[in-house]
Subunit: 241 residues, 2 copies
């Protein structure tokens, strides 16, 4: 299995070996992998080489280290399609999970210059600012900050954000949501994510910015969110022109 | 600017303040931000609070710490559109940058079970395996591993991978590339990225898996790539159904 004469580094061969065991379901989510000592003996390599391979797989999100318990195969990530504009609640429902939200802040404040520019309103015009944790079943998945022009969504209340904002916008206010510009970045967890998403410092985060527009071209919301990198991935089908 | 009676944590207010200065171009890419001591005095807060704010902005990729030199505003990330299936070379050309590649490995090997499944060939059938660093102008941006069924792309040579593979596939072999399924994840840098992309341990990485298909439905390539999280972001426009 391990070819010591190969130009491919040994730690990388071990990674590939473990990846394949996961790929082919010989190792399943939640399974403990063999200890460093066992792997060292099985592959006849140094402990440092084994550790390097495991660290890489932990970094890549395929394995999880639990203090004092060992190293385990990570749960498969939730796949978020990038094909159409859907809300978190809709995404969760579609895959049979229960969407939840915990509101950390709900306030009506004057917009600063930066948010005003994005929402195409004048600086100082009232906006709603909502900060909430999004849950899939009972698991915290994302931390989300949403900003909406107050004039557009008068009478907004905190409890709407415990359910689906999009359902409220479309079914109660009768606005038509048209499209959104979305940016996807990889970062590491900040203090807020560490605190509210139970993440370890240094954990990877998918950071999403979304500017959503109504059919008449008016910006509806600016969303700044952080999804747990260990639990979430995006999938998209791309067509060649 | 800083409201000590606000329920919003002070470190977060400082973050927002610095973000706004970047957003409104009062601080430009490459600019040094004031020292921790200066910020401590300007905001009349503890040094720890200032440090917390700066660490968060470094984690988010907005600031960069340079040892012994200070903290600077990061260069804007390269925006990669997710709208259509394009090659790295085409993307770079579109934005007026020079695409480059350094080949680290080029070999014809028997496929293992996992790659064979993806490429829909029998296990053991020959594949090309290419590992290369992708450059934008002279900057290393991504580490990419590509696997192609050898039968499909006979006579492939290493120098093709120093240019555009897609150009070769379409213009020389006259295949029609149709679409690709792509997965986007956030991870942290592994040993390979740290070595070849000059990344610091713990740096965020955008990891992309792509399975590309020809018009006749046959898989053309399986690509496993890691893009520098500090230099790259994806943008997409989503339509509401």
């Amino acid at each position: 299995m391990i070819d010591k004469r190969s130009p491919v580094p040994i730690y990388y061969q071990i990674e590939e070996h473990i990846k394949k065991m996961i790929d082919t379901h010989q190792l399943k989510p939640g399974d403990a992998i063999p200890s460093e000592r066992e792997l060292t003996e099985a592959f006849q390599v140094s402990r440092m080489t084994v550790r390097q391979a495991i660290t890489d797989l932990v970094n890549a999100g395929l394995l999880i280290r639990k203090k004092g318990k060992g190293t385990f195969v990570a749960e498969p990530k939730i796949e978020q399609p990038l094909q159409g504009l859907t809300s978190f609640t809709e995404d969760m429902q579609r895959r049979g999970m229960k969407a939840g939200a915990k509101i950390l802040r709900f306030s009506k404040i004057p917009s600063d210059e930066s948010i005003a520019q994005k929402l195409d309103i004048r600086t100082g015009a009232a906006i709603y600012e909502i900060k909430r944790i999004r849950f899939a079943d009972a698991e915290p998945m994302a931390l989300e900050r949403t900003y909406l022009p107050a004039e557009l969504v008068q009478g907004l209340t905190a409890d709407i954000f415990e359910q689906s904002l999009y359902a409220y916008i479309e079914n109660v206010l009768h606005y038509r949501i048209a499209h959104a510009d979305q940016v996807i970045e990889a970062t590491t967890a900040g203090h807020d994510e560490i605190e509210h998403l139970n993440m370890a410092p240094g954990s990877p985060v998918l950071r999403i910015h979304r500017l959503t527009f109504l059919e008449n071209g008016q910006p509806l919301e600016w969303v700044d969110s952080a999804y747990r990198g260990d639990r979430y991935k995006f999938v998209i089908s791309l067509k060649r022109d």
